[in-house]
């Protein structure tokens, strides 16, 4: 009897203790999954919030938050406005990332090759097929390019990376915009597909003459040769945290609806042209306001203390002004059943 009471007490104590580490659940984009995991780990000690994030893809994340099966959804591409309004969701960015162009040309080292946007598009159009094409050679007078076929590689799986990259090609090349367009997967005129960032990286590495696009982190961690790209201002920029941040600070965040700011091909001498934000989706009318409040508490913590972790994983932190604007939007947009702001 005595033993049973003790056991019960211990169990109850255990239950209340574990309830104190509050769970927040999220699902969606795979691209920010590593930083969300890192933030989740660090935030658990600091805030007592335990993040359970499932990287099921942006499409899945949107569906889950529309159905309200998770506390927040995550999406690389901004959600379609009519769908978001119909589902009564609030959207804001969490962190940014950059896409870089990788090449495998024997004898050419990283950032040695210079390209502009139309040339990148024309390679994927199949209009430029050899590395010693006069247009490429013209732009790269200092280096001897081999008479070798270009082997374009793209993401075969639907992905936010493809959306960002195809948006860039649409922005710089009218033919691309008219014939192909931008989406999480597109109808590539030429080349071959590989699965995931690592698949593209490995295929380009294995194929002499290979050409592809990956998230910056994959290029950096695998020591892949990247290409310098001519930006809107006309200067050649190499991928680095500095050029990524420059693009973010030049963007027009204030006038972007739902924070769906276009970071592609920004003006500015130092701006890297292929940068994008990844988004979080929260219900504007949460059934359980405490859980939504916890999500905001978590993001607030990440905004305040997560920048170093983000840059450590080659993500680009948001500019301070944007963070302030997002915090303000929470109070204005997300209301509990009583009509009062949740946070």
């Amino acid at each position: 009897m005595n033993f049973a009471t003790t056991a019960l007490a211990v169990t109850l104590a255990g239950l209340t203790w574990s309830a104190q580490a509050q769970q927040i659940t999220g699902a969606g984009a795979t691209f920010p999954a590593p930083i969300y995991a890192k933030w989740g780990e660090a935030a658990k000690a600091a805030t007592g919030l335990e993040l359970n994030y499932q990287a099921i893809g942006s499409g899945g994340g949107q569906t889950q938050i529309v159905n309200r099966t998770v506390d927040f959804g995550a999406s690389d591409a901004p959600m379609a406005v009519d769908r978001m309004e119909k589902a009564n969701l609030h959207q804001f960015p969490s962190v940014m990332g950059a896409v870089v162009v990788i090449v495998n040309i024997p004898g050419v080292t990283t950032n040695q090759l210079k390209l502009d946007g139309t040339m990148v598009a024309d390679i994927y159009h199949g209009k430029i097929t050899k590395w010693n094409d006069p247009r490429i050679q013209e732009m790269n007078k200092g280096i001897t390019l081999p008479n070798r076929a270009i082997a374009p590689v793209y993401r075969a799986d639907g992905s936010g990376t493809t959306y960002v990259f195809a948006s860039y090609l649409s922005a710089v090349d009218p033919t691309w915009k008219a014939k192909v367009g931008a989406a999480t997967s597109v109808k590539w005129p030429t080349g071959q597909g590989a699965r995931g960032n690592d698949g593209v990286a490995a295929t380009v590495q294995n194929t002499p003459g290979g050409f592809g696009y990956v998230e910056f982190a994959y290029a950096k961690q695998n020591n892949l040769a990247t290409a310098a790209i001519r930006n809107k201002a006309g200067s050649f920029v190499v991928p680095s945290m500095e050029t990524f941040s420059a693009a973010a600070s030049n963007a027009d965040w204030a006038n972007a609806k739902h924070f769906a700011v276009d970071l592609i091909d920004q003006a500015g001498e130092k701006s890297w042209p292929i940068v994008s934000a990844t988004f979080i989706l929260l219900p504007k009318d949460p059934k359980d306001p405490a859980r939504s409040a916890n999500v905001m508490k978590f993001i607030d913590w990440a905004y305040n203390s997560g920048d170093a972790l983000a840059t450590g994983l080659d993500y680009v932190p948001l500019p301070a002004a944007v963070k302030t604007a997002v915090r303000g939007s929470w109070t204005a947009e997300i209301k509990g059943p009583d009509g009062k702001p949740v946070r």
Binding site: S185, G191, G193
Partner: protein, 316 residues
């Protein structure tokens, strides 16, 4: 006292029987319901795509997510071509294995080789995919394809089969990996059916002075023909639905290529690749479900034929 125990034991046994029978029936019916639910689920999910594109869906080579134009031709073509090519490679090898194991191998070697073949069947497909991507693809890209393009590619009439840049991936590489994956299934079935031939037939033939090959050709094969074809169909069924290993090595391109080295796509791999980033209720999602339905129907037909042919033979 004793009697009471026995009685109550009997009553319990009665109840136990009924509960067990109920549970077993439920399990049996559950399988049927599940199968039906999957077919209906795929058909209903794919209905918007069939409505939007009609029968044209089956013969349209377009796959353009931006314009929302979808057709099944490229993945269906890729699925069938890779599977057939895989059979062309696998069947002679599997026949050799089965023939060796039943007729030629010394007794002490039969078990280890037989077990090795069965173990091959247990290797997870992702392992074959990784092995294909990291071992076979570089060999194809650096040795096999450049050689074939320079020699066979120059031959008139068949040259187009060996054209294109040597990526290493493509239809032929996918077929090779598939062949390795289905060999154990076909070989194991063939060995088992070869062993069902009554020894007296074979012994009679040997007694008449037949060679091993003549016994195989005139006694074993005719006796087991239907079951052998059934085993091949079983392998085909597996090849049609294989996803991971193929995705790694096929090149994942929605274009029909006449070259064996050209990239392609299969139904299973396009569904695996595109599904996570498809929005619910979109035409793309529906097209993927419709593709799943088509694959289901193809595999169902193939497996039904295999079941029919593998039925234990009844003496007329």
């Amino acid at each position: 006292m004793q009697q009471a125990t026995v009685l109550s034991g009997k009553r319990n046994a009665n109840w136990g029987d009924r509960i067990f029978a109920g549970l077993a029936t439920t399990s049996g019916v559950f399988v049927l319901v599940l199968l039906g639910a999957i077919i209906i689920g795929l058909a209903v999910g794919g209905a918007p795509a069939f409505r939007a594109f009609g029968a044209f869906f089956l013969v349209d080579a377009e796959w353009d997510p931006v314009q929302e134009l979808f057709g099944a031709l490229v993945p269906v073509y890729g699925t069938i071509v890779t599977s057939i090519l895989a059979l062309v490679i696998a069947v002679p090898l599997a026949f050799g294995i089965a023939f060796y194991l039943t007729e030629l191998a010394p007794g002490w070697l039969r078990r280890p080789v037989g077990t090795a073949v069965e173990l091959l069947a247990a290797v997870p497909s992702i392992i074959y995919g990784m092995w294909g991507f990291f071992v076979i693809v570089p060999i194809m890209a650096k040795v096999v394809q450049p050689w074939a393009i320079d020699t066979l590619g120059e031959v008139p009439l068949i040259g187009f089969l060996f054209a294109g840049p040597p990526f290493g991936t493509g239809i032929l590489t996918a077929a090779l990996i598939l062949a390795v994956m289905i060999i154990p299934f076909i070989a194991a079935t063939m060995r088992d059916v070869f062993e069902t031939v009554p020894p007296v037939y074979k012994e009679s033939a040997y007694g008449l002075g037949c060679t091993t090959w003549e016994v195989m050709r005139s006694i074993v094969i005719p006796y087991t023909r239907a079951s052998v074809v059934g085993g091949i169909m079983l392998g085909l069924g597996r090849a049609l639905g294989e996803t991971m290993a193929v995705t790694f090595v096929i090149g994942n391109t929605n274009r029909i290529s006449t070259s064996l080295f050209g990239p392609g796509n299969t139904i299973a791999s396009i569904v695996a690749l595109e599904f996570p980033e498809s929005e619910a209720d979109s035409l793309k999602m529906s097209s993927l479900l419709a593709l799943g339905f088509i694959l289901f129907v193809i595999s169902f037909i193939v497996l039904a034929i295999s079941r029919m042919l593998l039925r234990p033979r009844t003496k007329a």
